[in-house]
Symmetry: C2
Subunit: 406 residues, 2 copies
């Protein structure tokens, strides 16, 4: 008998009918002999409705009261799901974050879990009940209601799985697993049976939206095996996110991630002096603009070109700041380009396979795709190219590294 | 500086604008130098919406889960009201029943309050904050969420006032106080400045819908001065429900209550034997039909006539049961009449003033109104008459006892 934590998001519990579907799914896992804890989000749309009500009252509602307000969303879902389970003969009991005693710090709206009391949950599981837990929410040591921030239900599921030493944490989403790349770009994209935590982290941070990056970090930290499954398809094993690299050793590359949301900024002809990087990026950071890739080239004339990427929505703001810096430093010019895309190869196999980077560059060159920036980590190579090459680049790399084959 | 508990019902907090109005009202009490605790219901319609969702899933939803579900209604209101108070510069903090620690028994849907922990509320009041408490809800000793049943927010307010030893518990409703009778029946009806608890209890039990009878009992038991006020009118002192009879001593009668929701059943010619009352009323009680007035007359022929009233909606059901009893007992006939009304005079002044009953009967007789049943208590006289005489009877009595005069 295994102990499984299942997590269903807002879309999966968006209507009464869907809640009843989830109940049948949970019962199936229970009937198969497992102990089951279910973590659910608010019905889709509900959190936004509540935030809308707060917005009618205050432009900047008190974070403590906002948490009191929005946590009612999951509380509605847990009650309805417990009822739906009982209705099909599956004994169940619901718990709010406060009732479980999911103890967090007091950072309303973005709290972190410090401790979980598993006493009552274990007692219910032992009594043969399914335990339904409200995701996204907890309580601080003074009894104030807190929330973990958007996507926090994934974190709740992983934290519950860690606290209960569950055999598996299953995240039900609207996709049926993790793919070698986005099937909308490359129809030959293949669902992965397994992927390592490190790879999943890179995929998530590079723009793959399957899982919240924080919950993946959390699962990695607490050794919780994580599985991504579709909440709408009954069959399928999804993708298991695992610590072991054995199953994926053979492949050099696990997947290709890409991010359309970046823009590139270049400041040219900056006098090459110590501290110039700080002088350029300091004002950007002060304006709360996050910088992703950074590249610096030294020219022969004693000046340097400095290029970095930011979120596309902040391109104009960053450009204005950069222009002021350029005037101060006596730089030659500032260039902004928001028609770029970042394409990344991800794979732990890179560690033991040489020549991945050159194979990547050769593939792109062969298609006539000019590489504008390059950035590498131990298990990832990212390049920035013109956005018109996105589909061509992804498909060429997908084929070159044989990702369509098992 | 007085400590005041204010309670606003679902209609008073039915929209964001109304919540903002309540906030202004609360701030006014705070600015006048009072410490204020506010108890609120769910926004009107919300509780029924939630019960509707449960109804889509189960015909008989689990009472524990139903309480988890419906208590989100008040939780939304407390957060929004706390935000609205903060927005107009009035420091405030919200508490669910569980957060206050309103400890109840485990009777989901109709729990009774056993204890209230006033530690956190007192600390907030001392810190200059308005405390906003979710009505209708509590928590049992195992941490399960409970509700007090419909109208339970009044009970929460009174219980909070008792626990905090508040100077006054103010119930804001859609009427501006307690009247000598229903102004829709007698336009000369006058708002009472004061009424005693005993009178209010009689008025409530006789069909006056101003307050939930349970909250009046509770306030009486715990010596909490209660005031009924309008949530829509800024001015006015409402009606104070008090223990002291001094202010009302002069008046013989405080008010006239009436109840249109009754029906009269008579079983005639029952052999007059010991235990006949039980034989007649036992089956009625077994069918969960509540009986109000009971009158028995003994005839000269060794038989008796037995008459009682029930809620009008249960008249047919009661008639069927009574007919079976009549057949068993060999009674002459069963008569049902659902065109009756009960009119009651209420007043603690009756105790020290003789002749009230005869003045009442004389007044009705003078108008040609036939009295079908009479029932009395220490501070109340009720008569049953044909419903066509309701307005005539109420107005005649209102004038005869000088109720329009201060």
């Amino acid at each position: 008998m295994a102990l499984i934590v299942q997590k269903y998001g807002g879309t999966s519990v968006g209507t009464v009918e869907r809640i009843q579907n989830v109940a049948r799914r949970v019962k199936k896992a229970r009937d198969a002999g497992n102990e089951v804890v279910v973590v659910v989000s608010a019905m889709s749309g509900e959190t936004n409705r509540l935030i809308g009500l707060a917005g009618e009252i205050s432009e900047h509602p008190d974070p403590r009261e906002l948490d009191v307000l929005v946590t009612t969303g999951e509380q509605v879902t847990i009650a309805l799901l417990a009822m739906a389970l009982q209705e099909i003969g599956c004994d169940a009991r619901s718990y709010t974050g406060a009732q479980v005693r999911i103890l967090t710090d007091s950072a309303h709206g973005k709290a972190r879990i410090n401790d979980i009391d598993d006493t009552r949950v274990h007692a219910d599981l032992k009594a043969g009940r399914v335990v339904v837990v409200a995701g996204f929410q907890g309580i601080d040591q003074n009894g104030n209601i807190t929330t973990l921030g958007r996507g926090g239900s994934d974190t709740t599921a992983v934290a519950m799985a860690a606290a209960l030493r569950a055999d598996e944490c299953q995240i039900f989403t609207d996709v049926d697993g993790v793919y070698t790349t986005d099937p909308r770009v490359e129809p030959k994209a293949r669902k992965l049976d397994r992927i390592t935590f490190e790879e999943m982290l890179e995929m998530a941070s590079l723009g793959s939206k399957v899982l919240q990056i924080r919950s993946v970090e959390f699962a990695g930290k607490y050794n919780v095996p994580l599985r991504v499954l579709s909440s709408f398809e009954e069959e399928g094993e999804g993708t298991l996110i695992t610590f072991e690299e054995d199953g994926v050793e053979a492949a050099k590359i696990s997947g290709i991630a890409f991010n359309r949301d970046e823009a590139k900024l270049t400041i040219r002809g900056v006098p090459d002096e110590p501290g110039v990087a700080y002088k350029i990026l300091g004002p950007i950071g002060d304006a709360n603009i996050e910088v992703d890739m950074i590249v610096q080239n030294i020219a022969n004339d004693g000046t340097t070109d400095f290029t970095f990427t930011v979120n596309r929505s902040e391109c104009d703001k960053a450009r204005g700041i950069l222009q002021r810096t350029a005037d101060e430093l006596g730089a030659r010019e500032v260039i902004a380009d928001d028609h770029i895309v970042k394409i990344s190869l991800v794979g732990v196999g890179m560690r033991s396979h040489a020549g991945i980077a050159s194979q990547m560059f050769q593939t792109l060159s062969h298609e006539g795709i000019n590489i504008q920036m390059i950035s590498t980590s131990e298990i990832k190579i990212s390049v920035v190219v013109d956005e018109k090459y996105l589909e061509l680049g992804v498909r060429a790399l997908h084929e070159a590294f044989g990702l369509e084959q098992e």
